[in-house]
């Protein structure tokens, strides 16, 4: 799952890892994306919450158990899923902040949204942390899920 490297962690090398992450995401290389993460990397997609009668499922957990299935499902539902990175800033502590648009055309159901062949493009903010071993050990993302729903023709909040 992990790749080893001898490069020191700097702001530039940390940003390089995250740039590669988005390149692999654009190529739908989910295994490659997780290869850039540590085995126990934390994962939080803040807008993801599904309210059931007795509990709320959230997009929080680990890259291996929550992130990877979520990315795989997204790519299945949006076969042309892509990303456009607008900015990457980083520091020597391994923090990397990315502004990116995620977009795709729906072909399969996604959550409560039935497929209607519609396209969405939504701005996202990602906060990564890259460890001293140059592996991503934390991914957090924010976006407006209402924007995606409305672009896909789903007008109900839940």
């Amino acid at each position: 799952m992990t790749e080893t490297t001898q490069r020191p962690r700097t702001a530039e090398s940390a940003a390089g890892v995250v740039t590669e992450f988005f390149d692999r995401y654009r190529a739908h290389d989910v295994h490659g994306m997780t290869d850039l993460c540590s085995i126990n990397a934390d994962f939080s997609y803040v807008p993801v919450e599904i309210w059931g009668k007795q509990r709320v499922l959230r997009g929080d957990g680990k890259v291996s158990t929550v992130g990877k299935p979520l990315w795989t499902g997204l790519i299945a539902s949006f076969p042309n899923l892509s990303n456009t990175v607008h900015s990457i800033t980083s520091n020597d502590d391994g923090d990397v902040v990315v502004q990116a648009d995620i977009e795709g055309t729906q072909q399969l159901a996604w959550g409560l949204i039935t497929p209607a062949g519609r396209h969405y493009r939504e701005p996202h903010l990602f906060i990564f942390h890259v460890g001293p071993d140059l592996l991503i050990d934390s991914i957090t993302a924010y976006w407006n899920d209402a924007g995606i729903s409305q672009q896909l023709g789903h007008t109900e909040v839940d």
């Binding site: 807008p47 520091n91 990397v96 701005p123 996202h124 976006w143 924007g147 109900e156 909040v157």
Partner: protein, 148 residues
């Protein structure tokens, strides 16, 4: 009365801004903002410039949620960019973002990305999920936001 605050680092500028918002002191917050600040509030589809735009965004929030509490969890400095992660909590007391007041409690995680120059905020981009916001305010449909 606006009280300018002298700050030296981007993090200090943003922290002072967040502290002022947490005190509901919009004048002090806007004193830290360049008059020509670029304002992007993604959930509102708002892409404009000017401190008055940001003032309106903040004032609307404080007016709708008079007991607003801002809890900052992280402030991340990456050069001139400072990203703040925080939770905004409060009880609705007035219409907000098209949603009528049903006195619901709001708790919403947000990320705001700031760019600073010379001790002033020159860019701000806010990210949160409007679905989460509407869910908490008991809005059922995006095409009927004002109908309970």
């Amino acid at each position: 009365m606006t009280t300018p605050v002298t700050t030296s680092t981007p993090t200090q500028t943003v922290q002072a801004f967040l502290d002022a918002v947490a005190r509901h002191d919009i004048d002090s917050a806007i004193a830290l903002v360049d008059p020509r600040v670029a304002v992007t509030i993604h959930p509102f589809g708002l892409y404009e410039g000017g401190a008055d735009v940001l003032r309106t965004v903040l004032a609307d929030l404080v007016r709708a949620f008079p007991d607003l509490v801002i809890s900052v969890s992280r402030v991340i400095a990456t050069g001139e960019v400072v990203t703040a992660l925080f939770k905004a909590e409060g009880t609705q007391a007035a219409d907000y973002a098209g949603a009528i007041n049903q006195e619901k409690h709001l708790d919403i995680d947000q990320a705001w990305r700031f760019v600073t120059r010379g001790g002033l905020i020159t860019e701000v981009a806010a990210y949160w999920c409007q679905a989460q916001l509407y869910r908490r305010l008991a809005v059922k449909r995006y095409d009927e936001i004002a109908i309970a």
